[in-house]
Assembly symmetry: C2
């Protein structure tokens, strides 16, 4: 195949690719919102029809107890490697809506970027592979490897039905490597392969004082205030050095190696630039670690939400019955989500006075991941990235979680290639999520080359 065919095809079709991406982004496939169930199903249909349209051989919509999985196979290269592409078509809720400059489900291009919920996480990144496959099929006629695609609709709610499905379909999913684009490049123009991900434990805790709301004048000063008690608990979840104060929390952590710390330190990273990107007055975190170490390879604890009492306009002198917080821990290799939840619950139960009641609601968790930095598939991905971007990729770890990577490692015994196409300022999970069009088009090109290199 001539080296120019793919770039030519991409150049000719890139406007259409963008329009198709917009169509995909318009579907509000919010998996956590039970009122969006039909939109999520519609999105699965759209993905399936699109894959058929670009010439993928066998496309199925597989029902689960939750949202459907789209599974496709295009295996016409006997004796050649089999690659499984994983992605997700569901998205995070768009709240708070009022902070979006343009509506989250009306994709808009500004300044070389497309803005929409899911633009980068993960619709845009996954769609780059669709278009890479299309480009290869249309220019070369056939794929040089066997490709399987597994696209789920529950990644943003912790993939509750994916693992059972993977276990039940192990043989069907057999492959030599898994390719996932659901993470970030280290910086614009720096193609990146990610070899580590953090895991997650997520739970809610509710503190109850009185069993109904009381007047703060008639009762204030005599009964436990659940907001004040919850605040005292949260305040004791970290020590003064920014370390998580839950006993045993760090026991199973696999420490960073001196080699890794050295590699991280070599990456061009500027704390002040990073701070400016967050808009926070200052950075903070666990004493003794750099910002990159803190965000990639150290476990954390954050409140993701808190609520209780009167939160409307104006003043209401209520002494509320309950206060609740959503709390999550990012975990690093070695840590177990369930064990960390148990440690957190035991510690919090010990912190609360006996004048209040606590209840816990665990949400999904996810295992942390460390993969090889050197094998055939990683080298092939490196070549494809170099061919499209013109430079060698860097190796990083990621702060987010892709729980399914652990499932693939455990169940399929296949190595995973994490080839992120997004950028750290893509505002995923936030208002005004975006995907740089350069990343989108280069991602398509990389994907188009990848099949030959593999």
């Amino acid at each position: 195949m001539s080296d120019q065919k793919i770039p030519d095809y991409l150049a000719e079709n890139q406007d259409r690719f963008l329009e198709e991406l917009k169509e995909y982004l318009r579907i509000p496939s919010i998996s956590t919102d039970s009122e969006r169930k039909e939109d999520v199903a519609r999105c699965a249909e759209w993905v399936a029809e699109h894959l058929k349209g670009i010439g993928i051989d066998d496309v199925q919509i597989e029902q689960t107890p939750g949202h459907p999985i789209v599974y496709a196979e295009h295996c016409k290269a006997p004796g050649k490697p089999t690659i499984l592409v994983y992605g997700h078509y569901d998205v995070q809720p768009p709240d708070p809506l009022e902070l979006w400059e343009t509506p989250p489900f009306e994709p808009t291009v500004r300044d070389g970027k497309i803005f929409a919920r899911g633009a980068t996480d993960d619709k845009g990144q996954l769609f780059a592979h669709f278009k890479g496959l299309e480009a290869h099929l249309k220019t070369a006629g056939e794929l040089p490897v066997n490709v399987k695609l597994l696209i789920e609709g529950e990644e943003e709610v912790g993939s509750p039905n994916l693992t059972p499905w993977v276990v039940a379909n192990k043989e069907r999913l057999a492959c030599d490597a898994v390719v996932i684009s659901d993470s970030s490049m280290f910086a614009p123009g720096m193609p990146t392969l990610t070899y580590g991900l953090r895991g997650l434990t997520y739970f809610e805790v509710t503190v109850q004082g009185p069993d109904h709301d009381l007047h703060s004048g008639l009762f204030g000063g005599t009964v436990p205030n659940p907001i004040n008690e919850l605040a005292k608990i949260i305040a004791q979840l970290h020590d003064k050095d920014g370390r998580v104060a839950i006993p045993g929390f760090y026991d199973d952590v696999i420490p960073l190696t001196p080699d890794e710390r050295e590699q991280f330190a070599k990456l061009p990273f500027d704390d002040e630039k990073f701070r400016a990107q967050t808009g926070a007055p200052g950075l903070c975190g666990e004493v003794g670690y750099t910002t990159l170490e803190r965000k990639w390879a150290r476990p954390t604890l954050d409140c993701n939400g808190i609520w209780g009492g009167f939160i409307g306009e104006g003043a209401k002198t209520v002494l509320p019955s309950t206060a609740s917080a959503k709390i999550s821990c990012r975990l690093v290799p070695g840590q177990d989500p369930e064990k960390v939840f148990d440690l957190a619950r035991d510690y919090i139960e010990g912190l609360a006075p006996d004048t209040v009641k606590l209840t816990f609601l665990p949400h999904h968790g996810g295992d942390p991941v460390l993969t090889d930095r050197d094998n055939d598939q990683v080298r092939a991905a490196s070549r494809a990235l170099k061919k499209s971007w013109g430079v060698d990729p860097v190796f990083t770890r990621g702060g987010g979680s892709i729980p399914v990577v652990a499932t693939f490692a455990n169940e399929l015994k296949s190595p995973t290639i994490l080839m992120g196409l997004g950028l750290d300022d893509d505002r995923l999970h936030s208002p005004n999520e975006k995907f740089n069009l350069e990343c989108f088009y280069k991602g398509i090109e990389t994907s188009a080359y990848l099949w030959d290199e593999l």
Copy 2:
């Protein structure tokens, strides 16, 4: 006037009185809710029309920059004392709506109690005076004293326009005593005169970390989390002994006298019964004080609301930009609301790390009050209460705030008689607010006798 005329009139008309009260309670006059402005105005009209209907001479609706004041005069007893009756026709918001057994604005009688928002605070208690005036007018033909009525629509938002109106109408309001029924009896069957009230300082504080919501995986562990920081602040607002930790907070407090502490200790009060009424697993508060002392005569600090991050169903791994809390202090005689707010703000500003930004939004405050326990008017009210209830009233202080009492003391130089008709379990400001019909009917009888005794 025969002693039997009033009881007979009340017995004959009590069903109608109840129907009229229901009509009054159906108007959702929520003063803090800007969408209810027309309902609040409609409620003022209703009150004015009702006063005209029972034979009150001169009834006016007085516009203010906020909700209107209903002002009425019935001064046909030259040379006799003039009594100002104060009350409010506005109510608290009904949230959380889902906890009401019957809708807040569809008054329902169950088990000898009427349930509705405003049933006791203050529509029901005020309405008892309307009916007491009616009973006296219909049975005796005329009132033996001069009566003025001042009924505002902004009590639940701190009466922002009442003080200027009182100042501007000082001469018109001139009186020998003020009568207010907007508090509680000590216990069922124990008529009560309240001689002290707590004041209030109320403000919101918002903590900002990043200037937009961030993904907790990509940023968690490196930037300040506003929820965690707000929790740390709140946790430092009390010390281990339940005392408010704001420096200077207690400086101006007028301590309870040994005589008062002795009187409080003699009242039949059972901690366990009180605890059971709140439904809390245990009571708590400032070390060194009894429950009655804590709720009536010690200053407090409580969070009334807290919110930040994702508070919807399910899990969202967001690292939020802001978290906010509504915080109020109940104040006791000697303390100044503005000074306490300044102390709180200064202390909180000192607690926050420089990685976050703080903003404060002060809401309304109110002065604490101590009135005489012995003068002509108090003795007259005692006799009226004894005549209707059959026992001498007890003297108490109250934990709530009626800021206007301080205004009357300062501007009109008139003593206030706080004659509460409610009960501590009336759930005012909470779902399922109620007013015992016995309190309503006895309150009407007391009011009907009061004018003769005065």
